[in-house]
């Protein structure tokens, strides 16, 4: 995960369904971003690496969706479209389209590290939330490992004999940090790498600050809307929407109108 869910959600005593949903969306959006990077990068080995990173992120999404599947709420539902409306993914361009390769790698390194911290901090909450499913997950992990990760053995850091999925998730994130840092270290442009990392860190802080101000955004939005509504309210009874009277629907002149 490199587009982290809002931090404020992880400070509550228990892991709420809403927080789990946010994590699932964050993981899914990271998968989509990596997939897009794989399609655009002009280097087959890197593309292959991006694809495998995307597969990890999809797998992590599944982990959170599995947790969510135990939810009693009929209102909490995973809808991929929320990745756009929830600002996890920009509607007009993916990260890889906006950043240079070095900046992209720096962004991942910084954010994966951040994700690792968040996941470590919520580890106990996950065990508290769903102790039973962690046993069920062991089986899933074995299957997943067998068919999803078989190609990664050579490069995987030893995660010991534990089949706990969350351990795997943490190990994945650590590995992503290590690989992206290694990638950056290979670069001769030390100054640019340092600059890109600083830029990413600063950007991250601003992004998280922005995200954590949702209540203020909502308040300002509501204030403006309600003011507009209040000003227009006296006109409520005279508002009448005209019926379309186009006789010829293929009229060229009518085609120019938005009404």
């Amino acid at each position: 995960m490199f587009k982290t869910a809002s931090m404020r959600t992880s400070k509550s005593e228990d892991l709420t369904d809403e927080t789990i949903l946010q994590f699932a969306l964050a993981e899914f959006s990271s998968a989509v971003e990596m997939l897009h990077a794989a399609k655009l990068v002009n280097n087959s080995k890197l593309a292959f690496g991006f694809v495998n990173h995307a597969l990890d992120e999809f797998n992590h999404t599944n982990f959170f969706l599995h947790l969510l599947s135990k939810s009693d709420s009929s209102y909490i539902r995973f809808d991929p479209r929320q990745t756009i409306s929830g600002n996890f993914v920009r509607p007009d361009a993916f990260l890889f389209e906006r950043l240079k390769l070095i900046e992209f790698a720096a962004f991942i390194a910084i954010n994966e590290e951040n994700a690792l911290k968040i996941f470590t901090s919520i580890r106990q909450k996950i065990q508290k939330k769903d102790p039973e499913s962690s046993r069920d997950l062991d089986l899933i992990i074995e299957e997943e490992r067998a068919h999803l990760r078989s190609i990664e053995h050579n490069h995987r850091q030893d995660t010991g004999t534990s089949y706990n999925f969350f351990e795997t998730l943490l190990a994945d994130e650590a590995r992503h940090v290590a690989f992206s840092s290694k990638f950056l270290d290979k670069s001769n442009l030390k100054f640019r790498v340092a600059l890109a990392k600083r830029k990413s860190k600063l950007g991250n802080k601003i992004r998280h600050l922005w995200a954590s101000q949702q209540k203020i955004h909502g308040f300002v939005d509501r204030l403006i809307s309600n003011l507009t509504i209040f000003l227009l309210k006296p006109l409520k009874n005279v508002l009448a929407f005209p019926t379309s009277k186009d006789k010829d629907l293929f009229s060229k002149a009518a085609s120019r109108h938005m009404l």
């Binding site: 479209r81 756009i84 509504i229 508002l239 938005m258």
Partner: protein, 578 residues
Amino acid sequence: MSFIIGISGYFHDSSVCLLENGELLEFLKEEEFTRIKGTNGFPFRSLNFLVKKYGLNDNNIAQVIFYEKPLRGWAARVTYSFRHIDKSTQLLSHQLKQFWNGPIGFAKDVQKCIKLDEQKIGYCPHHLSHALSATPFVDERLLERQIMHLVLDGVGDDECQSILLTKGTKATRVFSEKYPNSLGLFYSAITDFCGFLVNEGEYKLMALAAYGKPVHVDLMLDEMLNKKGHRIRLNMDWFDFNHSTQRSYGEKFIHTFGEPINIRKIQTSADDDFKRAADLAKSAQVVVESVIKDLIDWGLANHTCDAITVTGGVAHNSLAMQAVCDYASVDVPVTIPPSPGDSGAAIGAAVYGNMLHSKNYITTKKVFFSKQQPEQNQELLNMLFSKKADAQHMGPLIDKALLSGDIICTFFSGKEIGPRALGNRSILCAANQPKTVSELNNKIKKREFFRPLAPIMLEETAQKYFCLLKNGEKNHHWMAMTAVASEAFPEEYNAALHVDKSARLQIIKDKEHVIFQSLRRLAGKIDVLINTSFNVAGDPIVHDIIDCYTNMKRLGLNKLITDTGYYELTDQQQGDIV
């Protein structure tokens, strides 16, 4: 060279259609690029892809048409909300914000991709876009005669249901039901209450109907819809879609039918919640069919026609479309296009542009567009897959795999334009291998147990095993409607049928197609294949070879056939992980 572009977007399923000299050249959905199903917003990526691929510019573009009248749609909804301001403040606030980032800024968004003379940008009435999306698939001899277009939508511009007539270069609107009296939004409210996502889970509700009883039909017709003849007047006490951004059903709904259904509880078991959802689904299905039939009756009683088309989101309901063709009053050909919803309306917008530009309809006999597969990096292809046979020699391997109960993925040049995979981006297996079919449905695609899989077969097989309706047979070429199995249907293929013995079958007629040839060779051993879309549940269908790889890895599949040969996944060393 003259290009015309049709665009749908901002609400759900954004897409772009490109015509070149009156020929349907490309149809792209934004979700294929974003990998986020149902992507809304302006389709920047699809349009930029086409701009680059065809060198689109102001000199070679004749028209760019948006699929609705943006100001009309926005103003209609805002006016309605204002009239009910006591309940609608939340929605109104949302609608007011949309003025700045919604479809009213269409021209500005187009200019971000192509610098274009603004005179070339036009707007087609939403329901006309739907109606015209069917015309390329209507028998071209009928286009000069009177055609009745039934549009059954959620809401578009200010209309919910409408009937339009076209005759050559004339198009008129003869019936229109205004917002909020919407059959589509009624069905979406039931979808929402049963735990499925609106604008996404309606087809699941339709599948669920086969398990229920129509116990709420009278209540729905009389209380919720106030149906009088062909008109409906929604009682808004039952619905919240007119004032809430969170849910479609109202308090009265909960008071009558109990707590909203948790989708997770009905996905795996047939308990009380499942029965509750199934009864609602069945009742809603009967109601939808009843309203459609009365609309058709009204249309036929007041206007003559030589053909009927049905479009709009409700036309995705393949069970209701079977009922339309089966309706005794309908004795003319019925066309339900491959993509009758908002996504396909981009085709209608492009047809509209062509009518303005050259006064001609467009016709097509194809169901696959975008001739070339996206360019692939050969080095990467070799890293992801290992080639087992060239295209000329893959036939025996395909047959062997199908006979031995294997599952095969397909990725051929030319993409399906509708939501159904028609063989070019499909996952296939033999329908007479119940263990494989069950594994495909439950373990691999992880579909809900109540959803059937769709079969694909040759025409002679379909005629032998199904009760096909003459006036709508063509719709089976793109899975637009269901059919009921005949007495002759062999038990060994039961895995291809729903519990009510119906199937949303596809008839494959293209003799050059690899699947057609395989079915020909296997005749007598395998006559029916199971055909499901090549995607992970909830994701868009694959778009390129990287999607093929990631989807196969996630689904645990390893056989792929393409234009260039038969491939299996490799056990390659890992690339640089970043």
